[in-house]
Assembly symmetry: C2
């Protein structure tokens, strides 16, 4: 099902790095957080438990693949994973690499910024994006095999 | 592994409603959000991908069970699911029922309150907690069978 006006139905909502099994992995364009990916259901379902068992497994295999790639390439302080959807109720999982010197750490990325000196980190992360996209795609392709 | 000083190692960190397969489901005591559960790894691991494949499946089966129970008993506007752990890097998934009139909706529960008239909702949710705990325990037990 497609819902006109839903940002995740109207387009990919990010740079697609992998697509398979009813889900796509996109790199989001979130100010201040370059290493920010989303696992998005192609269909317009609101909740994780709107998926059947097999789809939930595929979904979390994608989430785990992104997490593995982020850890492997960036060695972040922490990975944050979340499915909220309060504003856009189309299932999407945020998978974000967090760093001591990112602009909100240790608060969630949706919080007010705690510091304004994150530019060096952002620059370093942006430089890593081609390698990161490739690592995410590779990890996701490997996950498809399971 | 147990890490002294970690709130999820030192105790259950909530009212335990289910425990099996290396995870416990606890009802948290979060001000303003009575319908707030956590799926907590018994062992001190930081990241979702620190779990092996089978443990990740058990973990998300618990998350899905909590979500099903919350939806069934409360019919919330949205379910929020998140694994952050920036402050306490011991794997725990927040599973929270959200409502239009909760104090932060549609912002994440970690945001500054948007309204101060959530008392009626909170009272209604608190009254539902015994039924909710029972529904979560029942859904989790059913998930163990898979």
């Amino acid at each position: 099902m497609r819902v006109p006006g839903c940002v995740f139905c109207d387009g990919d909502a990010g740079v697609v790095v992998h697509r398979a099994g009813g889900f796509r992995i996109v790199r989001a364009d979130e100010p201040g957080f370059p290493a920010f990916y989303r696992v998005v259901a192609d269909g317009h379902v609101a909740e994780f438990t709107d998926l059947d068992d097999a789809a939930r497994l595929r979904c979390m295999a994608c989430v785990a693949a992104v997490e593995r790639a982020l850890r492997s390439v960036l060695a972040p302080r922490k990975i944050n994973v979340a499915s909220l959807g309060n504003v856009v109720p189309h299932l999407h999982w945020h998978v974000v690499a967090r760093f001591d010197d990112d602009r909100c750490f240790p608060a969630p990325v949706w919080s007010l910024p705690l510091r304004d000196d994150a530019a060096p980190l952002i620059e370093r992360l942006r430089a890593a994006l081609p390698a990161l996209d490739a690592a995410v795609a590779s990890a996701a392709a490997a996950a498809d095999l399971h």
